[in-house]
């Protein structure tokens, strides 16, 4: 029974951390990608990739092997060790994703700026022609 309890606590800790990170990041990332890309399906794809990667890494560390002979100290040590082990790849995933979004912003923002600059010019030309 205690083995099941330890495994449940481990799953809750790891998944909870992943869900917390995801809850903090989902809305800003979605807004940013919506403005940048302008394709809802692409935004959903990137947000789900972030979520699934974090949850899969949490699952990876949530699955721990506990020996039946372990005592309570060893249980708690393994719990915390698994939680700490989960954070390293989670940081790596967040860094990779941040790099990906930075590249997208750097490349696609240029197009947005040129469109933003060209739009007032077009409207000014239309006004000019309208006056003529």
């Amino acid at each position: 029974m205690s083995l099941i309890l330890v495994n449940v606590v481990q799953v809750l800790l790891c998944m909870g951390l992943a869900i917390l990170v995801l809850a903090c990041l989902e809305k800003p990332v979605r807004d940013l990608l919506d403005r940048l890309i302008g394709m809802p399906s692409a935004t959903t794809f990137f947000v789900r990739v972030l979520g699934l990667s974090l949850l899969l890494l949490a699952l990876k560390e949530a699955v721990i092997f506990i020996d039946k002979q372990d005592d309570a100290w060893t249980y708690s040590f393994k719990l915390m060790h698994g939680w700490a082990d989960m954070m390293e790849p989670a940081y790596a995933v967040l860094l990779v994703f941040a790099g990906l979004i930075t590249v997208l912003v750097a490349v696609l923002r240029h197009g947005h700026q040129s469109q933003d600059v060209s739009e007032p010019m077009v409207s000014a030309e239309l006004d000019h022609h309208g006056r003529d």
Binding site: L54, L56, K60, V63, V96, F97, L100, L104, V107, G111
Partner: protein, 84 residues
Amino acid sequence: MAVAFPAGIVLPAFAAFLSVGYLERGCGGFNDAEAVIRDSDQLFYVAEHEMSHTAETLAYVLLVWAAIYAVLLISWKKSHSTHR
């Protein structure tokens, strides 16, 4: 792309699952059912290791696909803007 995406997800996950060997982890000496029951902890350990290795590989494969789609998206947007 319709074939490459599912294959690119499933094949690495399957390869990660297969990469964890039972024989290398001390599960080679099961000659009878009693030995399997006696050393079931070792079997559970290998099964959990297979699961965690597959989950980790899937997470990284998804990131790789996100990078591929980002590159495709950028190139599509660039070609779309030059056609205008």
